[in-house]
């Protein structure tokens, strides 16, 4: 308690406030002395400025501060002026930035323009300015300039990283793998100077990893085990609203389509944990006229360890349905690929109203398959043959299936940067970190895989419209109820950057006017030989 003892005794002697112009220059400042710091009143101006510089630096480059915590030696911390000076000089040592070093970035001439002239700090009150005007020492301009340059480098490193990423992708496309390798090393070096905790640094890190995977280990498998995928998916569901938006919008459309039907059958192309269905079951339970008989067929990958995860999910859903008095039947179809599923496996009854629900599954069918015909066409073909009442399709709103690698890469860079931006607002841990792994896996697949291994072949809404229209489906407009519900759901998320937009009857959810996910509903164009719908419902159970 040494410094405080001193402070107590000193405080009584210099009782006048430090901001009074009448204080003697050699006296220690009374207020700071009470806190244990010895600062001459004449130095207050300087100390305030230096503290501000220190704070600016700490805010801009927190990763460099760790060495201060462990290695810096402060001999007399209560002497605030020299303490701040020593901190600043320690920080400036790893960055001996002179004009010669700036030539490293020789291909960016605009760097020179960005080194701003030293800022004039105007933090002082008038009282202090009066007192210290005659005692002000000349500010060391180099120190100030170095700090400003550090902040500018931070920003520029981000831009440079993007430029290098695009150059690397372009050289890969041209086949110049040697240059690509060099660029990768440059990028990794640059990455160490950038804050990789958030922003462009984080996204660039993932893309650099994906590029190096593409160059050096293209055979490495991107996908994880079934259990891993489920966990990642679940955390992505909880961390951001994209999947919730998908589920709620699809449920609303299905609910409206099932109006008036007593036997309904939902086919889910990717059951996962079945989180979409409790809300639909509850809504059906409360619909005017009473709940229908609901059958749910969930398609999912087979579990490797013999555990029947599909059946477990079905049992949970059945228990919920039982609690709310909805007659419910579940069937699980285990298939590792969607085009392995044959329509007879779904056992659709003749009088049922069928809804097909595909959340981010159709794009996986766009890859080439030498053995079978086009997978997407065969799946859309049997979907149509079931004559469903409604097909709900939710897909990523991105163009990641272009033939040229550079185009795909550029699009992915901007798409996933936006998505990571939106994820910044999430405060739930560990959900946020695991959700990032989920996105990282997608990035890896888009960038480093090719051929049949590349399954994340996202296409934008316009392309899906053309594709589904050509396969014999016509669009169903999602009503205003869906829009209202989606908007309400979004306001529940603390971040205000999400936006729901309506796009010719489809809904898109995006971040700051960049749509990231699109939900649409479709109906089969009636075949010429379709039987008329029965007026009396008789369901084959």
């Amino acid at each position: 308690m040494g410094p405080y003892d001193y402070g107590i005794s000193a405080g009584s002697s210099s009782s006048s406030s430090s901001s009074c112009a009448g204080g003697k220059p050699t006296e220690l400042d009374g207020l700071l002395a009470g806190a244990g710091y010895k600062v001459r009143s004449s130095d207050l101006h300087q100390v305030a400025q230096r503290l501000e510089k220190l704070e600016t630096f700490m805010v801009n480059a927190p990763t460099e501060i760790s060495q201060l915590a462990s290695e810096a030696v402060h001999y007399n911390p209560s002497d605030l002026a020299s303490w701040v000076d020593s901190m600043l000089s320690e920080i400036n040592q790893p960055f001996p930035v002179s004009s010669s070093d700036l030539s490293d970035f020789s291909d960016f001439h605009y760097m020179d323009d960005l080194v701003t002239p030293p800022l004039q700090h105007e933090v002082l009150t008038d009282a202090w300015a009066d007192q210290s005007a005659q005692q002000q020492q000349p500010q060391p301009p180099l120190q100030q300039q170095q700090l400003t340059v550090v902040a500018a480098i931070e920003e520029d490193s981000g831009i440079k990283l993007v430029h290098l990423l695009l150059t690397c992708a372009e050289s890969i496309q041209r086949g110049d793998l040697a240059l690509a390798g060099t660029l990768l090393e440059k990028m990794r070096a640059l990455l160490s100077r950038v804050n990789t905790g958030c922003g462009i640094g984080k996204v660039a890190g993932y893309f650099i990893d994906a590029l190096s995977r593409r160059l050096f280990s293209p055979q490495a498998v991107c996908a994880g085990s079934v259990l891993e995928n489920e966990i990642l998916y679940h955390h992505f569901y909880e961390a951001c609203p994209y999947l919730k938006f998908a589920h709620f919008t699809a449920n609303q459309a299905i609910l409206e389509a099932f109006d008036g039907h007593d036997c309904v059958h939902v086919v889910d192309f990717n059951l996962m944990h079945g989180l979409q269905w409790p809300a639909l079951i509850q809504a059906l339970a409360l619909r005017p006229g009473g709940p229908p008989l609901l059958r749910l067929t969930g398609i999912g990958p087979p579990s490797p360890d013999g555990r029947d995860s599909l059946r477990e999910i079905g049992l949970k859903l059945a228990e919920l349905a039982r609690s709310v008095n909805v007659r419910f039947a579940f069937r699980g179809v285990a298939a590792s690929r969607l085009d392995d599923v044959k329509p007879w496996m779904l056992q659709v009854g003749p009088r049922e109203a069928v809804a097909i629900n595909s959340i981010m599954q159709l794009h996986k069918l766009l890859g080439p398959d030498p053995n079978r015909g086009s997978p997407i066409d065969s799946v859309l073909g049997w979907v149509r043959s079931l004559n469903p009442k409604i097909i709900t399709v939710v897909e990523q709103e991105a163009n990641h299936n272009q033939p040229e690698f550079l185009d795909r890469f550029t699009e992915a860079l901007y798409y996933y940067s936006t998505m990571f931006d939106s994820l910044e607002s999430c405060t739930l841990q560990p959900e946020k970190a695991v959700a990032e792994m989920y996105i990282q896996r997608e990035i890896c697949n888009v960038v480093s895989c090719e051929g049949s291994a590349r399954v994340e072949r996202h296409e934008p809404l316009a392309k899906w419209r053309a594709r589904l229209g050509g396969a014999g489906f016509r669009p169903l407009h999602l009503g205003s109820n869906a829009f209202k519900q989606a908007s309400m759901l979004l306001t529940l998320f603390s971040a205000e950057g999400y936006c729901v937009e309506e796009n010719q009857g489809c809904l898109t959810l995006g971040w700051h006017s960049r749509p990231l996910i699109a939900a649409s509903a479709w109906q089969a164009v009636p075949l010429p030989d379709t039987n008329s719908l029965p007026t009396i419902n008789d369901c084959v159970l």
């Binding site: 259990l227 966990i231 679940h234 569901y237 909880e238 919730k244 709620f248 449920n251 079945g274 989180l275 409790p278 809300a279 079951i281 509850q282 809504a283 339970a285 409360l286 005017p288 009473g290 477990e312 949970k316 859903l317 228990e319 919920l320 609690s323 709310v324 008095n325 607002s425 405060t427 739930l428 959900e431 109820n481 209202k484 519900q485 309400m488 759901l489 306001t491 529940l492 998320f493 603390s494 971040a495 205000e496």
Partner: protein, 155 residues
């Protein structure tokens, strides 16, 4: 004079539970919570689901009769209110009126809760029930997809 005073002092609200219930049905959520701490009788009354049902639909149009059976099956009105309805309404009203979202429900200028907001809360409630059903692999029962409702709004 003293006889009158004696008569007045003998009135104990706990002897008149119907009056007590009448009063408690008019309270807001926070006051109900406070009232539940008074004594065991008040606690048991305040935990009665019908009080919370009343609170849930106080400012909304009366629900259809089947809502009650569904809500009770999914965990009851008190849970519906605490887990879903209150955070949803706090968040939605706080954003629209620029309030911090504190204070009792009825102190919110008698704002009418739309049927949509109740519907959304019921949907979220059903997800909450589903996640609480046992057998979740590796996760604890409290890891709920409704946790985003608990976080304060970054205004």
């Amino acid at each position: 004079m003293e006889q009158e005073k004696e008569k007045k002092a003998r009135f104990c609200i706990n002897d008149h539970q119907d009056i007590l219930i009448e009063i408690l049905t008019r309270l807001d959520d926070r006051s109900l919570g406070v009232a539940a701490c008074v004594c065991r009788l008040w606690c048991s009354i305040c935990r009665n689901d019908s009080l919370w049902e009343n609170l849930c639909f106080r400012n909304a149009s009366p629900p259809t009769p089947d809502v009650r059976s569904v809500v009770e099956a999914l965990g009851g009105y008190r849970r519906l209110y605490m887990v879903c309805l209150r955070p949803v309404l706090n968040r939605l009203s706080g954003l629209s009126l620029g309030l911090a979202g504190r204070g009792g429900v009825s102190g919110r200028n008698g704002r009418i809760w739309t049927q949509d907001e109740v519907q959304l809360s019921l949907s979220l409630f059903s997800i909450d029930y589903y996640e609480r059903l046992g057998g979740r692999q590796g996760g604890d029962a409290s890891a709920s997809s409704l946790m985003f409702l608990c976080k304060p709004v970054n205004v």
